[in-house]
Amino acid sequence: MAAADSAVTFLTERHRWHWSEALPWIVAVGCFFVFPGYLAFGAQILIAILFALSLDLILGYAGIVTLGHAAFFGAGAYTAGLLAARLGWSEPLSCLVLGAVAAAALGFVSGWFLLRYAGLTLLMLTLAAAVLLSEFANAQADITGGFDGVTGIEMWPLFGVFNYDLYGHTNYVYALATLFAVFLAARRIVHSPFGQALIGIRENTNRMRAIGSPVHRRLVTVYTISAGMAGIAGALFAETNAFVTLDVLSFQRSAAVLVMLIFGGTGRLYGAFFGAAIYMLLEHNLAKLNPQFWEFGLGAALVLTVLFARRGLLGLVEDFGARFRSAPS
Protein backbone atom coordinates (compact mmCIF):
# COMPACT_ATOMS: atom_id res chain seq x y z
CA MET A 1 0.00 0.00 0.00
CA ALA A 2 2.79 2.36 0.96
CA ALA A 3 4.31 2.05 -2.50
CA ALA A 4 1.01 2.75 -4.21
CA ASP A 5 0.40 5.71 -1.92
CA SER A 6 3.77 7.20 -2.67
CA ALA A 7 3.15 6.73 -6.39
CA VAL A 8 -0.15 8.56 -6.10
CA THR A 9 1.49 11.27 -4.05
CA PHE A 10 4.23 11.53 -6.62
CA LEU A 11 1.76 11.94 -9.45
CA THR A 12 -0.42 14.48 -7.66
CA GLU A 13 2.44 16.43 -6.13
CA ARG A 14 4.41 16.70 -9.30
CA HIS A 15 2.42 19.48 -10.88
CA ARG A 16 2.22 21.47 -7.65
CA TRP A 17 4.36 24.56 -7.46
CA HIS A 18 7.57 24.15 -5.54
CA TRP A 19 8.87 27.21 -3.73
CA SER A 20 12.10 27.10 -5.74
CA GLU A 21 10.14 27.75 -8.93
CA ALA A 22 9.62 31.32 -7.79
CA LEU A 23 13.37 31.95 -7.85
CA PRO A 24 13.89 32.68 -11.56
CA TRP A 25 10.99 35.10 -11.55
CA ILE A 26 12.26 36.87 -8.46
CA VAL A 27 15.64 37.19 -10.14
CA ALA A 28 14.05 38.49 -13.35
CA VAL A 29 11.99 41.11 -11.51
CA GLY A 30 14.97 42.00 -9.31
CA CYS A 31 17.13 42.64 -12.37
CA PHE A 32 14.72 45.32 -13.45
CA PHE A 33 15.62 47.33 -10.36
CA VAL A 34 19.23 46.26 -9.84
CA PHE A 35 20.47 46.61 -13.44
CA PRO A 36 18.37 49.41 -14.95
CA GLY A 37 21.11 50.12 -17.50
CA TYR A 38 21.09 46.64 -19.04
CA LEU A 39 17.41 46.11 -19.71
CA ALA A 40 17.64 46.17 -23.50
CA PHE A 41 20.03 43.24 -23.25
CA GLY A 42 17.83 41.75 -20.53
CA ALA A 43 14.89 41.75 -22.91
CA GLN A 44 17.00 39.85 -25.46
CA ILE A 45 17.78 37.24 -22.81
CA LEU A 46 14.10 36.85 -21.98
CA ILE A 47 13.33 36.36 -25.67
CA ALA A 48 16.05 33.73 -25.94
CA ILE A 49 14.57 31.96 -22.91
CA LEU A 50 11.14 32.00 -24.50
CA PHE A 51 12.55 30.57 -27.72
CA ALA A 52 14.46 27.85 -25.84
CA LEU A 53 11.32 27.08 -23.83
CA SER A 54 9.38 26.47 -27.02
CA LEU A 55 12.08 24.07 -28.16
CA ASP A 56 12.05 22.24 -24.83
CA LEU A 57 8.42 21.39 -25.36
CA ILE A 58 9.23 19.32 -28.44
CA LEU A 59 12.81 18.26 -27.76
CA GLY A 60 12.72 17.76 -24.01
CA TYR A 61 9.22 16.30 -23.75
CA ALA A 62 8.43 14.72 -27.10
CA GLY A 63 11.98 13.85 -28.17
CA ILE A 64 11.75 15.69 -31.50
CA VAL A 65 15.23 16.81 -32.57
CA THR A 66 15.25 19.75 -34.93
CA LEU A 67 17.78 22.08 -36.48
CA GLY A 68 15.12 24.22 -38.10
CA HIS A 69 13.33 25.84 -35.18
CA ALA A 70 14.40 29.29 -36.36
CA ALA A 71 11.86 28.90 -39.17
CA PHE A 72 9.10 29.53 -36.64
CA PHE A 73 10.98 32.26 -34.81
CA GLY A 74 11.49 33.94 -38.16
CA ALA A 75 7.88 33.44 -39.25
CA GLY A 76 6.74 35.24 -36.10
CA ALA A 77 9.33 37.97 -36.50
CA TYR A 78 8.48 38.66 -40.14
CA THR A 79 4.74 38.57 -39.45
CA ALA A 80 5.02 41.21 -36.74
CA GLY A 81 7.63 43.22 -38.63
CA LEU A 82 5.78 43.27 -41.94
CA LEU A 83 2.43 44.05 -40.30
CA ALA A 84 3.98 47.09 -38.68
CA ALA A 85 6.25 48.28 -41.48
CA ARG A 86 4.28 47.41 -44.60
CA LEU A 87 0.61 47.20 -43.56
CA GLY A 88 0.57 49.93 -40.96
CA TRP A 89 -0.77 47.76 -38.14
CA SER A 90 1.55 48.35 -35.20
CA GLU A 91 -0.42 47.26 -32.17
CA PRO A 92 2.12 45.16 -30.25
CA LEU A 93 -0.07 42.54 -28.55
CA SER A 94 -2.10 41.65 -31.60
CA CYS A 95 1.12 41.43 -33.59
CA LEU A 96 2.37 38.88 -31.07
CA VAL A 97 -0.80 36.87 -31.48
CA LEU A 98 -0.69 37.02 -35.26
CA GLY A 99 3.00 36.10 -35.23
CA ALA A 100 2.11 33.07 -33.13
CA VAL A 101 -0.72 32.11 -35.48
CA ALA A 102 1.45 32.35 -38.59
CA ALA A 103 4.24 30.32 -37.00
CA ALA A 104 1.80 27.74 -35.66
CA ALA A 105 0.24 27.35 -39.10
CA LEU A 106 3.68 26.79 -40.58
CA GLY A 107 4.42 24.34 -37.75
CA PHE A 108 1.22 22.43 -38.40
CA VAL A 109 1.83 22.04 -42.12
CA SER A 110 5.52 21.18 -41.90
CA GLY A 111 4.99 18.99 -38.86
CA TRP A 112 2.27 17.03 -40.64
CA PHE A 113 4.75 16.03 -43.33
CA LEU A 114 8.00 15.84 -41.44
CA LEU A 115 7.06 14.23 -38.14
CA ARG A 116 6.71 10.85 -39.83
CA TYR A 117 10.47 10.82 -39.68
CA ALA A 118 12.83 10.77 -36.71
CA GLY A 119 16.44 11.08 -35.64
CA LEU A 120 19.05 12.34 -38.05
CA THR A 121 16.60 12.25 -40.97
CA LEU A 122 14.22 14.59 -39.16
CA LEU A 123 17.14 16.77 -38.10
CA MET A 124 18.24 17.23 -41.69
CA LEU A 125 14.71 17.65 -43.03
CA THR A 126 13.96 20.44 -40.57
CA LEU A 127 17.32 22.02 -41.33
CA ALA A 128 16.75 21.93 -45.08
CA ALA A 129 13.18 23.20 -44.75
CA ALA A 130 14.33 26.17 -42.66
CA VAL A 131 17.11 27.04 -45.09
CA LEU A 132 14.66 26.88 -47.99
CA LEU A 133 12.38 29.28 -46.13
CA SER A 134 15.32 31.61 -45.60
CA GLU A 135 16.20 31.45 -49.31
CA PHE A 136 12.59 32.22 -50.10
CA ALA A 137 12.68 35.27 -47.84
CA ASN A 138 15.86 36.39 -49.59
CA ALA A 139 14.24 35.95 -52.99
CA GLN A 140 11.26 38.06 -51.88
CA ALA A 141 13.51 40.98 -51.02
CA ASP A 142 10.93 43.48 -52.33
CA ILE A 143 8.77 42.58 -49.36
CA THR A 144 11.23 41.36 -46.75
CA GLY A 145 14.09 43.72 -47.54
CA GLY A 146 16.36 40.66 -47.80
CA PHE A 147 19.61 40.91 -45.90
CA ASP A 148 19.12 44.65 -45.33
CA GLY A 149 15.99 43.79 -43.42
CA VAL A 150 12.61 45.29 -42.67
CA THR A 151 13.01 48.90 -41.64
CA GLY A 152 10.50 51.39 -40.37
CA ILE A 153 8.96 49.22 -37.66
CA GLU A 154 7.45 51.61 -35.15
CA MET A 155 5.16 49.89 -32.69
CA TRP A 156 2.33 51.79 -31.09
CA PRO A 157 2.66 52.27 -27.33
CA LEU A 158 1.88 49.15 -25.33
CA PHE A 159 -1.79 49.26 -24.24
CA GLY A 160 -1.72 52.67 -25.85
CA VAL A 161 0.17 54.00 -22.82
CA PHE A 162 3.72 52.73 -22.42
CA ASN A 163 6.29 54.08 -24.82
CA TYR A 164 9.53 52.38 -25.83
CA ASP A 165 12.59 54.14 -24.55
CA LEU A 166 16.30 54.06 -25.06
CA TYR A 167 16.79 52.21 -21.79
CA GLY A 168 14.40 49.39 -22.66
CA HIS A 169 12.19 49.55 -19.54
CA THR A 170 8.97 48.90 -21.40
CA ASN A 171 10.51 46.18 -23.54
CA TYR A 172 11.86 44.34 -20.52
CA VAL A 173 8.58 44.29 -18.64
CA TYR A 174 6.72 43.41 -21.83
CA ALA A 175 9.06 40.49 -22.56
CA LEU A 176 8.95 39.27 -18.98
CA ALA A 177 5.15 39.31 -18.83
CA THR A 178 4.93 37.50 -22.16
CA LEU A 179 7.45 34.90 -21.02
CA PHE A 180 5.50 34.31 -17.83
CA ALA A 181 2.23 33.85 -19.67
CA VAL A 182 3.77 31.42 -22.16
CA PHE A 183 5.54 29.59 -19.35
CA LEU A 184 2.27 29.03 -17.50
CA ALA A 185 0.78 27.53 -20.64
CA ALA A 186 3.83 25.32 -21.21
CA ARG A 187 3.83 24.14 -17.62
CA ARG A 188 0.19 23.29 -17.82
CA ILE A 189 0.72 21.32 -21.02
CA VAL A 190 3.62 19.22 -19.79
CA HIS A 191 1.79 18.21 -16.62
CA SER A 192 -1.42 17.31 -18.44
CA PRO A 193 -2.21 13.77 -19.62
CA PHE A 194 -1.24 15.00 -23.08
CA GLY A 195 2.19 15.92 -21.75
CA GLN A 196 2.52 12.49 -20.17
CA ALA A 197 1.68 10.87 -23.48
CA LEU A 198 4.43 12.91 -25.12
CA ILE A 199 6.96 11.64 -22.60
CA GLY A 200 5.72 8.15 -23.40
CA ILE A 201 6.40 8.77 -27.08
CA ARG A 202 9.86 10.10 -26.29
CA GLU A 203 10.72 7.06 -24.19
CA ASN A 204 9.23 4.38 -26.42
CA THR A 205 7.35 5.35 -29.54
CA ASN A 206 6.48 1.83 -30.55
CA ARG A 207 4.97 0.95 -27.21
CA MET A 208 2.83 4.08 -27.35
CA ARG A 209 1.62 3.02 -30.77
CA ALA A 210 0.92 -0.45 -29.44
CA ILE A 211 -1.31 0.88 -26.66
CA GLY A 212 -3.28 2.83 -29.22
CA SER A 213 -1.92 6.31 -28.63
CA PRO A 214 -2.32 8.50 -31.74
CA VAL A 215 1.40 9.21 -31.95
CA HIS A 216 1.53 11.28 -35.12
CA ARG A 217 -1.42 13.45 -34.14
CA ARG A 218 0.07 14.15 -30.73
CA LEU A 219 3.44 15.01 -32.17
CA VAL A 220 1.90 17.37 -34.70
CA THR A 221 -0.15 19.00 -31.95
CA VAL A 222 2.81 19.71 -29.70
CA TYR A 223 4.91 20.76 -32.68
CA THR A 224 2.23 23.27 -33.66
CA ILE A 225 2.06 24.64 -30.12
CA SER A 226 5.83 24.88 -29.92
CA ALA A 227 6.00 26.63 -33.28
CA GLY A 228 3.42 29.13 -32.07
CA MET A 229 5.50 29.85 -28.97
CA ALA A 230 8.63 30.28 -31.08
CA GLY A 231 6.57 32.64 -33.22
CA ILE A 232 5.76 34.72 -30.15
CA ALA A 233 9.46 34.88 -29.33
CA GLY A 234 10.19 35.98 -32.88
CA ALA A 235 7.46 38.61 -32.90
CA LEU A 236 8.74 39.95 -29.60
CA PHE A 237 12.23 40.05 -31.11
CA ALA A 238 10.98 42.08 -34.07
CA GLU A 239 9.04 44.48 -31.86
CA THR A 240 11.76 45.09 -29.30
CA ASN A 241 14.49 45.56 -31.90
CA ALA A 242 12.24 47.38 -34.37
CA PHE A 243 14.12 45.46 -37.05
CA VAL A 244 14.04 42.07 -38.77
CA THR A 245 16.58 40.61 -41.14
CA LEU A 246 17.22 37.19 -42.69
CA ASP A 247 19.28 36.12 -39.70
CA VAL A 248 16.05 35.33 -37.78
CA LEU A 249 15.63 32.32 -40.08
CA SER A 250 19.25 31.22 -40.05
CA PHE A 251 20.72 27.83 -39.34
CA GLN A 252 22.94 29.53 -36.77
CA ARG A 253 19.89 30.64 -34.81
CA SER A 254 18.40 27.13 -34.88
CA ALA A 255 21.70 25.67 -33.75
CA ALA A 256 22.23 28.28 -31.03
CA VAL A 257 18.84 27.69 -29.41
CA LEU A 258 19.47 23.95 -29.45
CA VAL A 259 22.83 24.44 -27.78
CA MET A 260 21.37 26.84 -25.20
CA LEU A 261 18.68 24.34 -24.26
CA ILE A 262 21.04 21.37 -23.96
CA PHE A 263 23.44 23.59 -22.02
CA GLY A 264 20.70 24.35 -19.49
CA GLY A 265 19.15 20.89 -19.51
CA THR A 266 16.27 19.46 -21.53
CA GLY A 267 12.88 18.27 -20.42
CA ARG A 268 12.42 20.41 -17.32
CA LEU A 269 11.27 23.79 -18.68
CA TYR A 270 13.62 25.60 -16.30
CA GLY A 271 16.58 24.27 -18.26
CA ALA A 272 15.66 26.83 -20.91
CA PHE A 273 15.98 29.57 -18.29
CA PHE A 274 19.41 28.49 -17.09
CA GLY A 275 20.74 27.62 -20.52
CA ALA A 276 19.64 30.69 -22.45
CA ALA A 277 20.42 33.16 -19.66
CA ILE A 278 23.87 31.84 -18.84
CA TYR A 279 24.80 31.29 -22.49
CA MET A 280 23.83 34.85 -23.39
CA LEU A 281 25.48 36.36 -20.32
CA LEU A 282 28.69 34.49 -21.05
CA GLU A 283 28.62 35.50 -24.70
CA HIS A 284 27.87 39.13 -23.95
CA ASN A 285 30.37 39.62 -21.16
CA LEU A 286 33.19 37.54 -22.60
CA ALA A 287 32.83 39.48 -25.85
CA LYS A 288 33.15 42.70 -23.87
CA LEU A 289 36.29 41.47 -22.17
CA ASN A 290 37.79 40.35 -25.42
CA PRO A 291 35.89 41.00 -28.64
CA GLN A 292 38.17 38.70 -30.66
CA PHE A 293 38.59 35.51 -28.66
CA TRP A 294 35.49 35.31 -26.48
CA GLU A 295 34.30 32.17 -28.29
CA PHE A 296 37.08 30.26 -26.57
CA GLY A 297 35.54 30.88 -23.15
CA LEU A 298 32.05 30.02 -24.30
CA GLY A 299 33.26 26.82 -25.95
CA ALA A 300 35.14 25.81 -22.83
CA ALA A 301 32.00 26.37 -20.75
CA LEU A 302 30.05 24.02 -23.03
CA VAL A 303 32.70 21.31 -22.96
CA LEU A 304 33.07 21.50 -19.18
CA THR A 305 29.31 21.32 -18.75
CA VAL A 306 29.15 18.08 -20.71
CA LEU A 307 32.01 16.59 -18.75
CA PHE A 308 30.92 17.57 -15.27
CA ALA A 309 27.19 18.10 -15.41
CA ARG A 310 25.15 15.48 -17.19
CA ARG A 311 21.64 16.72 -17.91
CA GLY A 312 22.92 20.26 -18.34
CA LEU A 313 23.51 23.05 -15.87
CA LEU A 314 20.15 22.37 -14.26
CA GLY A 315 21.48 18.89 -13.52
CA LEU A 316 24.18 20.45 -11.39
CA VAL A 317 21.62 22.41 -9.44
CA GLU A 318 19.46 19.33 -8.99
CA ASP A 319 22.38 17.22 -7.78
CA PHE A 320 23.33 19.93 -5.35
CA GLY A 321 19.73 20.23 -4.16
CA ALA A 322 19.45 16.47 -3.68
CA ARG A 323 22.59 16.38 -1.58
CA PHE A 324 21.37 19.30 0.46
CA ARG A 325 18.08 17.57 1.17
CA SER A 326 19.51 14.15 1.97
CA ALA A 327 22.34 15.43 4.16
CA PRO A 328 20.46 16.26 7.41
CA SER A 329 18.24 13.16 7.59
Binding site: L127, A128, A129, A139, I262, A301, L302, V303, V306
Partner: protein, 290 residues
Protein backbone atom coordinates in the same frame (compact mmCIF):
# COMPACT_ATOMS: atom_id res chain seq x y z
CA UNK B 1 24.61 29.56 -77.80
CA UNK B 2 27.07 26.88 -77.08
CA UNK B 3 26.73 23.43 -78.55
CA UNK B 4 24.43 21.18 -76.55
CA UNK B 5 27.02 18.39 -76.23
CA UNK B 6 29.58 20.84 -74.87
CA UNK B 7 27.10 22.14 -72.35
CA UNK B 8 26.24 18.63 -71.19
CA UNK B 9 29.88 17.68 -70.90
CA UNK B 10 30.63 20.79 -68.86
CA UNK B 11 27.63 20.28 -66.61
CA UNK B 12 28.61 16.71 -65.86
CA UNK B 13 32.27 17.44 -65.27
CA UNK B 14 31.69 20.55 -63.14
CA UNK B 15 28.98 18.76 -61.17
CA UNK B 16 31.24 15.76 -60.66
CA UNK B 17 34.06 18.01 -59.50
CA UNK B 18 31.80 19.91 -57.13
CA UNK B 19 30.44 16.63 -55.79
CA UNK B 20 33.99 15.40 -55.20
CA UNK B 21 34.74 18.57 -53.25
CA UNK B 22 31.70 17.90 -51.08
CA UNK B 23 32.78 14.28 -50.62
CA UNK B 24 36.35 15.15 -49.77
CA UNK B 25 35.45 17.72 -47.13
CA UNK B 26 32.85 15.37 -45.61
CA UNK B 27 34.47 11.95 -45.78
CA UNK B 28 36.04 12.26 -42.33
CA UNK B 29 32.61 12.85 -40.84
CA UNK B 30 31.19 9.80 -42.55
CA UNK B 31 33.73 7.84 -40.51
CA UNK B 32 33.34 9.51 -37.09
CA UNK B 33 29.60 10.13 -37.31
CA UNK B 34 28.59 7.62 -39.97
CA UNK B 35 30.50 4.61 -38.74
CA UNK B 36 31.15 5.39 -35.09
CA UNK B 37 27.79 7.02 -34.47
CA UNK B 38 29.18 10.08 -32.70
CA UNK B 39 27.42 13.31 -33.61
CA UNK B 40 30.74 14.98 -34.23
CA UNK B 41 29.90 18.54 -35.19
CA UNK B 42 33.57 19.35 -34.62
CA UNK B 43 34.50 17.52 -37.82
CA UNK B 44 35.19 20.86 -39.47
CA UNK B 45 37.61 21.77 -36.70
CA UNK B 46 39.82 18.79 -37.59
CA UNK B 47 39.46 19.59 -41.27
CA UNK B 48 40.46 23.17 -40.58
CA UNK B 49 43.44 21.98 -38.53
CA UNK B 50 44.53 19.96 -41.56
CA UNK B 51 44.21 23.03 -43.73
CA UNK B 52 46.28 25.18 -41.39
CA UNK B 53 49.00 22.55 -40.99
CA UNK B 54 49.19 22.13 -44.78
CA UNK B 55 49.41 25.87 -45.33
CA UNK B 56 52.14 26.17 -42.72
CA UNK B 57 54.16 23.28 -44.15
CA UNK B 58 53.94 24.58 -47.70
CA UNK B 59 54.15 28.29 -47.03
CA UNK B 60 56.55 28.55 -44.10
CA UNK B 61 58.65 25.41 -44.46
CA UNK B 62 58.62 25.19 -48.24
CA UNK B 63 57.46 21.58 -48.34
CA UNK B 64 55.92 20.34 -51.63
CA UNK B 65 52.11 20.23 -51.65
CA UNK B 66 51.42 16.48 -51.75
CA UNK B 67 53.81 15.37 -48.99
CA UNK B 68 52.59 18.30 -46.92
CA UNK B 69 49.00 17.11 -47.31
CA UNK B 70 49.84 13.61 -46.19
CA UNK B 71 51.95 14.81 -43.29
CA UNK B 72 49.17 17.17 -42.20
CA UNK B 73 46.65 14.39 -42.13
CA UNK B 74 48.99 12.18 -40.11
CA UNK B 75 49.74 14.99 -37.68
CA UNK B 76 46.08 15.84 -37.15
CA UNK B 77 45.12 12.17 -36.94
CA UNK B 78 47.73 11.68 -34.20
CA UNK B 79 46.74 14.89 -32.45
CA UNK B 80 43.12 13.74 -32.35
CA UNK B 81 44.03 10.74 -30.18
CA UNK B 82 44.21 12.70 -26.91
CA UNK B 83 40.87 14.31 -27.78
CA UNK B 84 39.37 10.87 -28.28
CA UNK B 85 40.87 9.50 -25.07
CA UNK B 86 39.97 12.47 -22.88
CA UNK B 87 36.74 13.79 -24.35
CA UNK B 88 35.02 11.74 -27.03
CA UNK B 89 35.42 8.37 -25.29
CA UNK B 90 33.46 9.54 -22.28
CA UNK B 91 30.47 10.33 -24.43
CA UNK B 92 30.16 7.25 -26.67
CA UNK B 93 27.37 5.95 -24.50
CA UNK B 94 25.92 9.37 -23.64
CA UNK B 95 23.01 10.79 -25.57
CA UNK B 96 23.35 12.56 -28.87
CA UNK B 97 22.54 15.86 -27.20
CA UNK B 98 25.61 15.72 -24.98
CA UNK B 99 27.67 14.88 -28.05
CA UNK B 100 26.25 17.92 -29.83
CA UNK B 101 27.03 20.20 -26.91
CA UNK B 102 30.60 19.02 -26.54
CA UNK B 103 31.44 19.11 -30.22
CA UNK B 104 29.93 22.58 -30.62
CA UNK B 105 32.07 23.65 -27.67
CA UNK B 106 35.13 22.27 -29.45
CA UNK B 107 34.22 24.15 -32.64
CA UNK B 108 34.05 27.44 -30.73
CA UNK B 109 37.35 26.75 -28.97
CA UNK B 110 39.04 25.79 -32.24
CA UNK B 111 37.79 28.93 -33.99
CA UNK B 112 39.19 31.21 -31.30
CA UNK B 113 42.44 29.25 -30.99
CA UNK B 114 43.18 29.32 -34.72
CA UNK B 115 42.33 33.02 -34.87
CA UNK B 116 44.81 33.57 -32.07
CA UNK B 117 47.57 31.79 -33.95
CA UNK B 118 46.84 32.64 -37.59
CA UNK B 119 44.66 35.75 -37.41
CA UNK B 120 41.24 36.01 -39.02
CA UNK B 121 42.33 36.56 -42.65
CA UNK B 122 42.02 33.80 -45.25
CA UNK B 123 45.18 31.78 -45.78
CA UNK B 124 46.96 31.55 -49.10
CA UNK B 125 48.17 28.26 -50.49
CA UNK B 126 50.51 28.09 -53.45
CA UNK B 127 49.66 25.10 -55.60
CA UNK B 128 52.32 23.29 -57.61
CA UNK B 129 52.36 24.58 -61.19
CA UNK B 130 51.01 21.31 -62.58
CA UNK B 131 47.81 21.67 -60.58
CA UNK B 132 47.37 25.39 -61.14
CA UNK B 133 45.49 26.77 -64.10
CA UNK B 134 43.46 25.22 -66.88
CA UNK B 135 43.98 22.13 -68.98
CA UNK B 136 42.19 21.36 -72.21
CA UNK B 137 40.26 18.11 -72.39
CA UNK B 138 38.10 17.27 -75.42
CA UNK B 139 38.40 20.88 -76.52
CA UNK B 140 37.02 22.12 -73.21
CA UNK B 141 38.94 24.27 -70.75
CA UNK B 142 38.88 22.57 -67.35
CA UNK B 143 40.51 23.36 -64.04
CA UNK B 144 43.55 21.16 -63.47
CA UNK B 145 42.95 21.23 -59.73
CA UNK B 146 39.39 20.04 -60.15
CA UNK B 147 40.53 17.15 -62.31
CA UNK B 148 43.00 16.34 -59.56
CA UNK B 149 40.22 16.48 -56.95
CA UNK B 150 38.12 14.06 -59.01
CA UNK B 151 41.04 11.64 -59.17
CA UNK B 152 41.72 11.98 -55.45
CA UNK B 153 38.05 11.36 -54.69
CA UNK B 154 38.01 8.10 -56.62
CA UNK B 155 41.29 7.02 -55.04
CA UNK B 156 39.99 7.80 -51.57
CA UNK B 157 36.78 5.85 -51.92
CA UNK B 158 38.66 2.89 -53.41
CA UNK B 159 41.22 2.90 -50.59
CA UNK B 160 38.55 3.20 -47.91
CA UNK B 161 36.45 0.47 -49.46
CA UNK B 162 39.46 -1.80 -49.49
CA UNK B 163 40.44 -0.94 -45.93
CA UNK B 164 37.01 -1.53 -44.46
CA UNK B 165 35.75 -4.38 -46.62
CA UNK B 166 38.86 -6.37 -47.42
CA UNK B 167 41.17 -6.19 -44.41
CA UNK B 168 41.03 -7.84 -41.01
CA UNK B 169 41.18 -4.56 -39.16
CA UNK B 170 38.31 -3.25 -41.27
CA UNK B 171 36.23 -6.33 -40.46
CA UNK B 172 36.92 -5.82 -36.76
CA UNK B 173 35.90 -2.17 -36.95
CA UNK B 174 32.65 -3.10 -38.63
CA UNK B 175 32.04 -5.76 -36.00
CA UNK B 176 32.78 -3.34 -33.16
CA UNK B 177 30.49 -0.70 -34.63
CA UNK B 178 27.65 -3.15 -35.22
CA UNK B 179 27.77 -4.80 -31.83
CA UNK B 180 30.27 -3.46 -29.41
CA UNK B 181 29.69 -5.98 -26.62
CA UNK B 182 29.73 -8.98 -28.89
CA UNK B 183 32.94 -7.79 -30.47
CA UNK B 184 34.44 -7.24 -27.06
CA UNK B 185 33.53 -10.73 -25.91
CA UNK B 186 35.22 -12.12 -29.01
CA UNK B 187 38.45 -10.63 -27.72
CA UNK B 188 38.57 -7.58 -29.97
CA UNK B 189 40.18 -4.60 -28.28
CA UNK B 190 37.27 -2.28 -28.98
CA UNK B 191 38.74 0.70 -27.13
CA UNK B 192 41.86 0.66 -29.22
CA UNK B 193 39.87 0.10 -32.38
CA UNK B 194 37.67 3.10 -31.68
CA UNK B 195 40.70 5.26 -31.01
CA UNK B 196 42.23 4.18 -34.30
CA UNK B 197 39.01 4.71 -36.22
CA UNK B 198 38.58 8.14 -34.72
CA UNK B 199 42.15 9.02 -35.64
CA UNK B 200 41.45 7.81 -39.17
CA UNK B 201 38.32 9.96 -39.35
CA UNK B 202 40.20 13.01 -38.11
CA UNK B 203 43.09 12.33 -40.46
CA UNK B 204 40.66 12.12 -43.37
CA UNK B 205 39.03 15.33 -42.21
CA UNK B 206 42.44 16.98 -42.21
CA UNK B 207 43.21 15.64 -45.67
CA UNK B 208 39.91 17.08 -46.90
CA UNK B 209 40.65 20.38 -45.22
CA UNK B 210 44.05 20.61 -46.88
CA UNK B 211 42.69 19.68 -50.29
CA UNK B 212 39.83 22.15 -49.99
CA UNK B 213 41.89 25.25 -49.16
CA UNK B 214 42.24 26.21 -52.79
CA UNK B 215 38.50 26.03 -53.39
CA UNK B 216 36.70 26.89 -50.17
CA UNK B 217 39.34 29.20 -48.79
CA UNK B 218 40.61 28.76 -45.25
CA UNK B 219 39.78 30.97 -42.30
CA UNK B 220 39.33 30.03 -38.64
CA UNK B 221 35.59 30.01 -39.33
CA UNK B 222 35.79 27.07 -41.76
CA UNK B 223 34.34 24.62 -39.21
CA UNK B 224 31.18 26.66 -38.77
CA UNK B 225 30.85 27.87 -42.33
CA UNK B 226 30.49 24.51 -44.03
CA UNK B 227 28.97 22.43 -41.22
CA UNK B 228 25.63 22.16 -43.00
CA UNK B 229 27.26 20.72 -46.10
CA UNK B 230 29.14 18.03 -44.14
CA UNK B 231 25.91 16.99 -42.44
CA UNK B 232 23.94 16.91 -45.67
CA UNK B 233 26.41 14.58 -47.38
CA UNK B 234 26.51 12.13 -44.47
CA UNK B 235 22.75 12.15 -43.90
CA UNK B 236 21.77 11.77 -47.54
CA UNK B 237 24.37 9.03 -47.95
CA UNK B 238 23.08 7.16 -44.96
CA UNK B 239 24.76 6.59 -41.62
CA UNK B 240 27.41 3.93 -41.64
CA UNK B 241 27.95 3.89 -45.38
CA UNK B 242 31.03 5.40 -46.96
CA UNK B 243 29.71 4.40 -50.36
CA UNK B 244 26.51 6.27 -49.51
CA UNK B 245 28.40 9.45 -48.67
CA UNK B 246 30.29 9.14 -51.94
CA UNK B 247 27.21 8.62 -54.10
CA UNK B 248 25.27 11.29 -52.23
CA UNK B 249 28.02 13.87 -52.67
CA UNK B 250 28.25 13.22 -56.41
CA UNK B 251 24.48 13.26 -56.87
CA UNK B 252 24.09 16.49 -54.91
CA UNK B 253 27.05 18.03 -56.71
CA UNK B 254 25.64 17.29 -60.15
CA UNK B 255 22.10 18.40 -59.27
CA UNK B 256 23.30 21.60 -57.63
CA UNK B 257 25.69 22.50 -60.41
CA UNK B 258 23.20 21.86 -63.20
CA UNK B 259 20.50 23.74 -61.30
CA UNK B 260 22.73 26.77 -60.85
CA UNK B 261 23.70 26.75 -64.51
CA UNK B 262 20.19 26.47 -65.87
CA UNK B 263 18.34 28.58 -63.35
CA UNK B 264 20.70 30.76 -61.31
CA UNK B 265 17.81 32.64 -59.66
CA UNK B 266 17.14 29.45 -57.71
CA UNK B 267 20.80 28.86 -56.95
CA UNK B 268 20.32 28.76 -53.21
CA UNK B 269 17.49 26.24 -53.32
CA UNK B 270 18.85 23.29 -55.23
CA UNK B 271 21.10 21.54 -52.77
CA UNK B 272 18.57 21.83 -49.95
CA UNK B 273 15.61 20.88 -52.09
CA UNK B 274 17.51 17.86 -53.39
CA UNK B 275 18.42 16.94 -49.81
CA UNK B 276 14.79 17.10 -48.72
CA UNK B 277 13.57 15.13 -51.69
CA UNK B 278 16.16 12.39 -51.32
CA UNK B 279 15.51 12.09 -47.59
CA UNK B 280 11.75 12.02 -48.02
CA UNK B 281 12.15 9.20 -50.52
CA UNK B 282 14.85 7.35 -48.58
CA UNK B 283 14.65 8.36 -44.92
CA UNK B 284 17.64 6.26 -43.91
CA UNK B 285 19.76 7.75 -46.66
CA UNK B 286 20.78 6.21 -49.96
CA UNK B 287 22.68 3.33 -48.42
CA UNK B 288 21.77 3.69 -44.78
CA UNK B 289 21.11 0.75 -42.52
CA UNK B 290 17.80 1.05 -40.88
Amino acid sequence: MAHIADVTFNLLFDGLAYGMILFIISVGLSVTMGLMGFVNLAHGAFAMAGGFVTVTLVGKLGMPFLPALLLASVVVGAASVPFERLLYRRLYKAGELDQVLMSVGLVLIAGAAFTFVYGPAPQALKLPAALDGPVTVFGQSLSAYRLFMVAVGFLLIAALWFAFERTGVGARVRAAVDNRRMAQSLGIDVDLLFTLTFALGSGLAALGGGLAVDITGLTPAFAVQYLVFFLIVVAVGGLGSLKGAFVAALLLGIIDNAGKYLYPEGGGYFIYAATMLLLLLRPAGLYGRG
